[in-house]
Symmetry: C2
Subunit: 412 residues, 2 copies
Amino acid sequence: MSNSTENATLTSARLDAADPLAAYRDRFFEPADGSVISYLDGNSLGRPLRATAANLTAFVQGEWGSGLIRSWDEKWMDEPTVVGDLLGATVLGAAPGQTIIGDSTSVLLYKLLRAGLDGQAGRDEIVIDRWNFPTDRFLVEGIAAERGAKIVWIDPDAATGVTPEDVAAVIGERTALVLLSHVAYRSGFLADAPGITKLVKDAGALMMWDLCHSAGSIPTELDAWGVDLAVGCSYKYLNGGPGAPAFAYINSALTGRLQQPIWGWMGAANPFEMGADYEPAANVRRFITGTPPILAMQPLKDMLALLAEVGIEAVRSKSVALTEYTIALVREHLVPLGVELSSPLDPAHRGSHVIIDHPRFAEVTAKLWEAGVIPDFRPPYGLRIGLSPLSTSFAEVEAGILAIRGVLASMS
Amino acid sequence: MSNSTENATLTSARLDAADPLAAYRDRFFEPADGSVISYLDGNSLGRPLRATAANLTAFVQGEWGSGLIRSWDEKWMDEPTVVGDLLGATVLGAAPGQTIIGDSTSVLLYKLLRAGLDGQAGRDEIVIDRWNFPTDRFLVEGIAAERGAKIVWIDPDAATGVTPEDVAAVIGERTALVLLSHVAYRSGFLADAPGITKLVKDAGALMMWDLCHSAGSIPTELDAWGVDLAVGCSYKYLNGGPGAPAFAYINSALTGRLQQPIWGWMGAANPFEMGADYEPAANVRRFITGTPPILAMQPLKDMLALLAEVGIEAVRSKSVALTEYTIALVREHLVPLGVELSSPLDPAHRGSHVIIDHPRFAEVTAKLWEAGVIPDFRPPYGLRIGLSPLSTSFAEVEAGILAIRGVLASMS
């Protein structure tokens, strides 16, 4: 073992010992066989909480198996807004009545993009950036084609992300809405959401944020910033499980004015009236479409309870400490082997993941996975080290970086 | 106890003893405290299988908690079509490559209705009936408004449902597609799906069936009948749990020709290429939109395994026996108290639920629920007795009907 390894080990032990949130890591499930050495992909799929398996059993045998259809009347009909409000209070900075849980992120993007565009009469431009997540770009492409709108592309510095200056340069009287990601999936860049939101609103356009890569790791203040629309997923930093339902935020100032295009019965004013014509609900429920995914939103509730206990500001502090430590380790151990750091160095502009690159990272990632060290790899952007704050220890980060060093060194 | 009660009890015991599927009822969870006397609403929310709670725990700790992100590569990416194909083989009569699991029924209806309408150039009419389920009617209403299509309403006999003659009278050269329910939620009427499908196809229109109220209780032969499109839910007779993901069938002859409007990354030819432009998958995956609901489709897999073991034809035979027995009991015990039977008397035209009506059934249902006898009530159509074949015994049906009689008699 080299001296630098010993030093890093001492440091990670000290950092874990000093971490006020260290004890929460035990709330998450880990395989008993020790087969996962370092999980660095909580930004893609969060670990389950230990409580989740037991709570699902209680749900199956209780609300579902014993309450049966009665649970719809007693509880489930309100679950999309009750859990949405809890997410709003705990994570989003959203007062009650503006957040719903349901559908996939992509379906919610479609519904809100259509609602926003159709609600901005006389404005026909959608602004988005070329490095936004594919599903955001694809949906805008499809909607622009079907509605006869024009896409205005921002071409940001690929290593960073969209700046207020980038936005100011393209918005105007024709801008219907602007769709950006709060944290860029490929660089980890954290956008200036309050600054950009103000610019967009001053221009009379609607501001829509995709929070997929930030929700649960970075606080937002959607109400205070004046955000119009937002969507995000719950299977990353919100630990809702694979394919868990997404969330949508619609600022209450817009609820009555916007109408989404997928007129399912659960968005109707009175679903069980079984009426002849569709009349949308007066409140945020008009953005719901089909029967809400009640079973699928149970694990998210476990994580929201934990986040309410810890507080999102403390989560963000640990996120910053984890990314800072990761960058220090990358510089010490990997940069000498030819690895490049592709994420912002200033934590004020960085989310909770760090991207590093090297020509052989596709091969490296395959070997790492076999060894129980699990980042992810996205061609051609490199290896993503995702640092889910509550489920990741500093020791785990260190073990991961040293494993990457070991595999890279063995190849050279 | 009256003589007629004794006779009925003897009969239900005999019927259960002679039922070749009786033993399967033990595969379903029941509350240990005996608080559910008679569950007659499996047509609305199926009971969980006993295996489901344990299988969910194994899933949370295994594929999710131990496999982590690796499970997407190893298994989950294919799950929407693997489970879809299993549903196709077990229940739908669909060869592989035509069925997907995901979204809600309403979102799938939107995607397939749009795809079908947009793919029928020169035809601008959508045919639907006034007694179809609200979400079907609302979606058609919204789509007709946004696409400039015309709705052609069939006004069927409300106590029965849509007949081939009803359809023949309205289809023609302008008909783009016809959307009907296989089993009518409000009457239990079972449509002549092969006959109607042939008529519609002969007219050059697309035939789309909503299978929500039949899938899992009645065999269909979608391929053999030449059906174009179908959707259905998995939380009724497929026991997938509250808000479980829905399914869609797209006949392989149409796959390459139709394009759905919600262009999410998981419907792209190569989602992880993260490409600049949306290119839909060449196969049935083009009808997928967002990240598939993997956790939420686990309970459905348990039920499909059971249906594969039993066989859907045997399930249908028991369904017919249960509805026949229900009708006999209603005639014996409830008709004398002023109750009306609103479902078809010929089992060839009847699904797996029976509707009965009486002016006081709203009050009656509330009292029944408190007593652990659970049908559902839908104003103004009456009380629905849902007979989920594998989880319902003849004794349970009898206990339910006698409880209804008891409550009604106590009110008069």
